[in-house]
């Protein structure tokens, strides 16, 4: 098949568990999503929902043991990454698939200059000499709009502000024009004003390169601003996926609806905020049936025993895993 026939990144029924002396913890339990070229897909979930582990599984960054990928497939333009040898998987990282981490202060090496860390991409993957690679690093810093790049190339991460550091992180991820960039909470550690700048930068870079951006976040504001499509995760599982507009307008899962009702929104001024009761389950004790049922306002006895299958709610591909998906979907919002 030609590459174009395959979606850019396809994750199917991914399951990751941690096997430890004291038992097995299922962190990801059947996660599926598809990311297309030039598209931003948000992976939305609370902390503990397994979204970071899922991203690291795709990148091949999990240590085995204790982590084991027990089921599923990760296909980058049709190539199954999980079937690759560690060495081949390594060659994919940084070149075709790269990652932006949350806290650039700890994610950048404190004892190497920013220039060295950026140039390393060209030196290792393209065999470039030090001088040439540093010149490319300066160009890269210009591209992510770091002022006075040529003077700052020899500075160390701690000498940059939080926002500038995150730009360095982004520059590193984009160095070799990867097809897919995974951004794991890229703005969580930043001030609100800087958050907006970073998200704008990411969108601009995306329009230049047509990369697929997988945005991992718990922040509905970030999602609303940047995402084309959204996959909602709960307890390691996809519970709903839809286009961003569709999901905000007509959520098809009680959990998504709960999330939307618990944050202030301009289009719902004057309505009370309703928090979701209870706390997300520990990965070591995920409830049977629908994992959300103990916190769900609509739960019925069958929810505690029967895992809901995916239902398609609209021709545009709105899908939800809830026994009452249609009712939730058609209920008036707010």
């Amino acid at each position: 098949m030609s590459p174009a026939a395959h979606p850019l990144l396809e994750v199917e029924d991914l399951c990751v568990e941690f096997r430890t002396r004291r038992g097995t913890i299922r962190a990801v339990n059947g996660l599926s999503y598809t990311l297309h070229e030039g598209e931003t897909l948000a992976l939305l979930g609370e902390s503990g929902s397994g979204k970071s582990v899922a991203a690291q599984a795709v990148m091949g960054l999990l240590d085995t043991p204790p982590a084991h990928i027990t089921r599923g497939a990760v296909r980058l333009r049709g190539d199954d990454l999980l079937a690759l040898s560690p060495e081949r998987h390594r060659e994919v990282r940084g070149t075709r698939l790269s990652m932006i981490f949350q806290d650039a202060l700890t994610a950048l090496n404190p004892v190497l200059s920013v220039g060295d860390q950026l140039a390393e991409m060209y030196r290792v993957h393209q065999g470039m000499g030090r001088k040439a690679a540093l010149a490319r690093a300066v160009a890269l810093m210009d591209r992510v709009r770091i002022p006075a790049a040529s003077r700052r190339i020899h500075d160390y991460p701690h000498q940059f502000s939080g926002g500038m550091r995150q730009r360095v992180m982004i520059a590193m991820a984009l160095a070799l024009d990867p097809e897919v960039v995974i951004a794991d909470e890229p703005t969580t550690a930043l001030d609100v004003t800087v958050q907006a700048q970073i998200m704008r930068l990411l969108k601009q870079l995306q329009s230049e390169t047509r990369m697929g951006l997988l945005l991992i976040t718990h922040d509905l504001g970030v999602v609303a601003e940047a995402a084309d499509r959204i996959t909602v995760m709960y307890a390691g599982r996809t519970v709903e996926s839809a286009s961003a507009d569709d999901l905000y307008a007509r959520p098809g899962h009680p959990y998504t609806r709960g999330l939307l009702d618990s944050v202030p929104r301009l289009d719902r001024l004057g309505k009370p905020l309703v928090p979701i009761t209870g706390a997300p389950p520990l990965p070591s004790s995920i409830p049977a049936g629908c994992a959300f049922h103990p916190r769900c306002p609509r739960a019925e006895p069958r929810c505690g025993s029967e895992a809901p299958p995916f239902r398609t709610l609209s021709p545009a591909g709105h899908r939800s895993a809830c026994h009452f998906a249609e009712e939730v979907h058609h209920a008036p919002v707010g």
Binding site: R22, I25, G48, P66, A67, T106, E185, T188, A189
Partner: protein, 313 residues
């Protein structure tokens, strides 16, 4: 960190900001569970059990050497020059020393000064460290500057050298003087650790909160800072017991520590040095007891550190 805890972190909190350092941990409740965790951790280690059993035996030997001696050997403390340096035999598993005394009985009697020195010196150093560390770390200023310089002076003084100079100056010293000397030369490490812990904690949010609620300095130090600052110092203290025992034996061995007719492992090793080639048992048994004791304290200290400091595992 236990594997489960790490997996949980990886699974659940990987997206969360990194946990604050130990020093910023709120008091009471958290600490109780930390203590419980530590206990669970310790219980699962066979080396800890071995160390506890060894130290239990050593304590018994130090408390009641006579009873153990008469139980374990024929003739007990009886000495006969005709038996001098005889090797191990039935009834006398460790053989005889230079004076023809049963070596097992002698080695058992050598336990007491080592244990006393190790525990007394560490207790005294711990006390100094806690008091000075709290005061200097909390108040800072000239007191801190002065104590820090004095600490530097004693820290820079080489141990064997310093101890030898002092001990030679006072030739008629007993175990009490040894404890004093070892304390004078040994209080600095724990004090430094305590001080830096207190400095870090005095700035912690919950201490500031308590301060703003009007808690007095003494209360702040004893109720809020001390319980959270002491853990790493306790760990070092456990390791320190072993180090002191080793240091005391070294001084005895060099001939500047305890003097005959006192009995200690270091003195036995000193007496053995001329006969090592032909009578290795003279070296072996006191060295074995000495090393086992030091090893036990170090194992306990290591285990405590791993249990209390999850990051090191």
């Amino acid at each position: 960190m236990t594997d489960t805890a790490r997996a949980l972190e990886a699974a659940g909190e990987a997206a969360e900001p990194p946990a604050p350092p130990d020093t910023a941990r709120p008091p009471s409740q958290e600490r109780a569970s930390l203590g419980k965790d530590a206990w669970l951790e310790l219980r699962a280690r066979p080396t800890v059990w071995a160390a506890v059993v060894t130290l239990f035996l050593m304590t018994a030997m130090a408390l009641a050497p006579g009873i153990l001696t008469s139980l374990l050997t024929e003739g007990g403390d009886h000495c006969d020059l005709a038996d001098s340096k005889l090797g191990p035999s039935a009834g006398h598993p460790f053989g005889f020393d230079l004076q023809g005394c049963d070596y097992l009985a002698q080695v058992i009697r050598g336990t007491r000064p080592s244990l006393i020195a190790g525990l007394a010196v560490t207790a005294a150093s711990l006390l100094i460290a806690v008091v000075l560390g709290l005061l200097c770390g909390f108040y800072g200023g000239w007191l801190d500057a002065l104590v820090s310089r004095v600490t530097d002076v004693f820290f820079g003084l080489p141990f064997v050298l310093g101890a030898t100079v002092i001990l030679v100056a006072f030739p008629d010293h007993g175990l009490g003087a040894m404890v004093l000397v070892l304390t004078v030369l040994g209080w600095t490490t724990m004090t430094r650790i305590m001080r830096s812990q207190v400095i870090a904690l005095a700035d912690a949010d919950y201490v500031r909160a308590a301060r703003m609620l009007g808690a007095r300095p003494a209360r702040l130090m004893v109720r809020h800072i001390l319980p959270n600052a002491i853990t790493p110092v306790i760990v070092v203290a456990m390791l320190n017991v072993g180090a002191v025992i080793s240091g005391e034996a070294t001084l005895d061995f060099l001939g500047v520590g305890l003097q005959y007719p006192e009995v200690s492992w270091g003195l036995q090793l000193n007496a053995a040095q001329a006969f090592v080639l032909d009578h290795p048992h003279l070296l072996f048994f006191p060295a074995l007891f000495l090393s086992a004791t030091v090893l036990s304290f170090i194992l306990l200290g290591d285990a405590a550190r791993d249990a209390f400091d999850p990051r090191l595992k």
